[in-house]
Amino acid sequence: MSSFLTSRNVADVLGGITNGVIYSLVALSLVLVWRSTRILNFAQGAMAMIATYVGFAVLAPTTSYWVSMAVAIVAGLLIGGLTERVIVRGLYGKPEINPVVAMVGFLLVLESVAAAIWSTGSRGLPTPFSMVDWQLNHKPVALSPFALYEIVTAVVVMTVIAGLFQFTKLGLRLRAAALAPEVSRLLGVRVGRMLTLGWMLSSAVGAVTAVLVASNYFTGLTPTAMDGVFAFGFIAAAIGGLDSPVGALLSGIALGVILQFVGDYLNSNAIILVALGMLVVSLMVRPNGVFTRSAQRRV
């Protein structure tokens, strides 16, 4: 049993899940905005990165990790709301490439501003838990307290979001505003406010993700720290279907595990290539995602 737990394949699965939950979180925050506003937020990673900088750079280095994280989440909420009000609001109903272009421009601005203020150098965040793997009969299991912390945090975030959408009045209004804006406006839902709230929630999820990514000793916090994570998160969201939160979560974890095997058995350079290949194939077979019921496009 113990040799099974320390075997190469189990190590790959565990490591893959640890990476995969991060991709799931990015995918989830992309899905949150896509469902309500039909905008793919290319600045998602950069917005989260800024929130993390605010949480960990503005406060004194002695401030506790958890206080900084709370500040980062609040910053994430604010950044999300501001972005929706200032930039995104002018893009509703425009040709579908306009939001793409605007969000890419915003991404460039955010990354440059972050580099201008905090430099391009990597900033180590205090790691709240040990990153040394647990031992079993003097062999490492591919799971450290930090990895477990990542997984638990992701599960908590997903549960909170799911609970909010499924079991609260606010969640009902959010879903209504996303699915049938005209009808819900007639029924007294403040649709505009709900869209802003959706962006705020998505951005806060992003902030948690970026804190997790940046607390990892090996990556640290840089202005472009979220670029690669964003690419994998987008691939997960697109494979799962940008309309399906459950699909985003599952395909994020699946992607993480598969890529971990690819990196272990093939070559670390092949990881992103395999991910790209999976994206291309899945989009050719099911352009709307594996987990979405295919809908006829309305003319």
Binding site: I39, L40, F42, I87, G90, L91, K94, P95, E96, I97, N98, P99, V100, V101, A102, V104, G105, F106, L107, L108, V109, L110, E111, S112, V113, A115, A116, I117, W118, S119, T120, D227, G228, A231, F234, I235, A238, L242, N267, N269, A270, I271, I272, L273, A275, L276, L279, V280, L283, M284, P287, V299
Partner: protein
């Protein structure tokens, strides 16, 4: 009408006279270079006279486009002989960038698709040129550039196939993934591409003997390598411009604009959507690869870090700021790129920013990103669209 035409004849005649006088003055010292300049002037006058006639523009559109391209190349070539080496170099980089922008402008403006991977397509061309030149150093550059175009088109086809079923944001995301993956691809084939450090060309590109022979007694500046490379780039850009202008006006181009504006209507009139989308994607990739190949020739080397995601974003912002979907927009974007670094350096010097500081090194991104957001929000047609609207309003007065 008749009066207009005789006026044109007078203008043409005067210009010819001026050219002849200029040629004879220059001819005293530097016979061959002066001949070259005279030919350039005559060509300019002839082309301008032709283009001034509405009848000609209307009856021979292809010839008119050729005349415009030749004129643009003609003027630029003559100017390069007078500019300093630095300005020439900037112009060459910008002219190559214009080619890339023409491609993306066609993709976005004609078919309504968007690509965040054109920087990587440039990289495909750049590395094709470098790898080929390192294995077969004697191949003429025209052949090497054609190879770069073919390589770009092939990669474009590969990525364009899924594009047939994708719309807007999905396609943008896929090309973004390609841009991020490009560095890993280069590393995977590190024995060919030189890994992180990239490749040097085995020898600088030299002007062929007959050109040197033609200019030797004349202005020495024309024979230096940098000018030769600038001229190659400008001529290539002119050819690319000519083809793109025809493509925009062709049946395919019109079909694609219909795809952009209303893809359902396009399908109803018998346009094959997948075919139109793949063609647009291949053309844009091939143009990007050509621009990248020229960059390798100009820099005499290629490094993988140049062709990262940031370059793709820069390309997108130049196209949008210049004016998406228009040929002048792409040329404006190229000019902006050629001199952006100088303008920013000037700005840094005059505001007292530390040139090595964090803020100064990030100004480029802040300005381009900010302009990109502002342009798409408030003037989505860019500089070219703005000027065109002003011009139309002025004429309507």
């Amino acid at each position: 009408m008749r009066g207009v035409r005789s006026n044109q004849r007078i203008v043409a005649g005067t210009a010819l006279g001026v050219a002849a006088v200029l040629a004879s003055i220059l001819g005293v010292g530097t016979a061959r270079a002066a001949t070259a300049f005279s030919i350039a002037s005559v060509a300019f006058v002839a082309g301008a006279t032709l283009l001034a006639s509405r009848e000609f523009r209307h009856n021979h559109p292809v010839a008119a486009r050729a005349a415009i391209s030749v004129l643009a190349v003609d003027v630029s070539l003559v100017l390069t002989a007078f500019f300093s080496a630095t300005v020439d170099d900037n112009l060459a980089i910008g002219a190559a960038m214009s080619i890339v922008l023409l491609g993306l402008s066609f993709l976005t403006g004609s078919s309504g698709q968007i690509s965040l991977g054109n920087g990587a397509f440039m990289g495909v061309g750049a590395f094709t040129v470098a790898v080929w030149a390192n294995h077969h150093p004697t191949t003429p550059i025209a052949v090497v550039l054609v190879l770069a175009v073919v390589a770009g088109a092939l990669v474009g086809l590969l990525l364009g196939l899924p594009a047939t079923r994708l719309r807007g944001p999905y396609l943008a995301g896929m090309t973004l993934a390609f841009a991020v993956a490009f560095g890993a691809v280069l590393n995977l084939f590190g024995t060919w591409t030189g890994g992180d450090s990239g490749l040097q060309l085995p020898a600088a590109v030299n002007a062929p003997a007959w050109v040197l022979h033609f200019f030797k007694p004349g202005t020495s500046s024309l024979t230096t390598n940098s000018v030769w490379l600038v001229d190659i780039t400008i001529v290539t850009a002119g050819i690319a411009l000519f083809f793109m202008a025809n493509l925009f006006a062709s049946r395919t181009g019109r079909a694609m604009r219909l795809v952009r504006d209303n893809d359902v209507a396009a399908e109803l009139v018998g346009i094959s959507l997948p075919r139109a989308r793949v063609i647009a994607f291949i053309v844009s990739a091939a143009y990007a690869a050509l621009g990248g190949g020229l960059w390798t020739l100009i820099n005499n080397a290629v490094t993988p870090s140049t062709y990262g995601f940031a370059l793709s974003v820069t390309i997108l912002s130049l196209v949008v700021i210049g004016g998406i979907g228009t040929i002048p927009g792409a040329l404006i974007g190229g000019l902006i790129y050629a001199f952006a670094a100088n303008v920013i350096a000037w700005f840094t010097a005059h505001t007292g920013l530390n040139p090595q500081g964090n803020v100064a090194s990030q100004l480029n991104g802040i300005i381009f990103g900010g302009l990109l957001v502002l342009t798409i929000l408030f003037a989505p047609t860019g500089i070219a669209g703005f000027v065109r609207r002003r011009w139309a309003a002025w004429r309507a007065r």
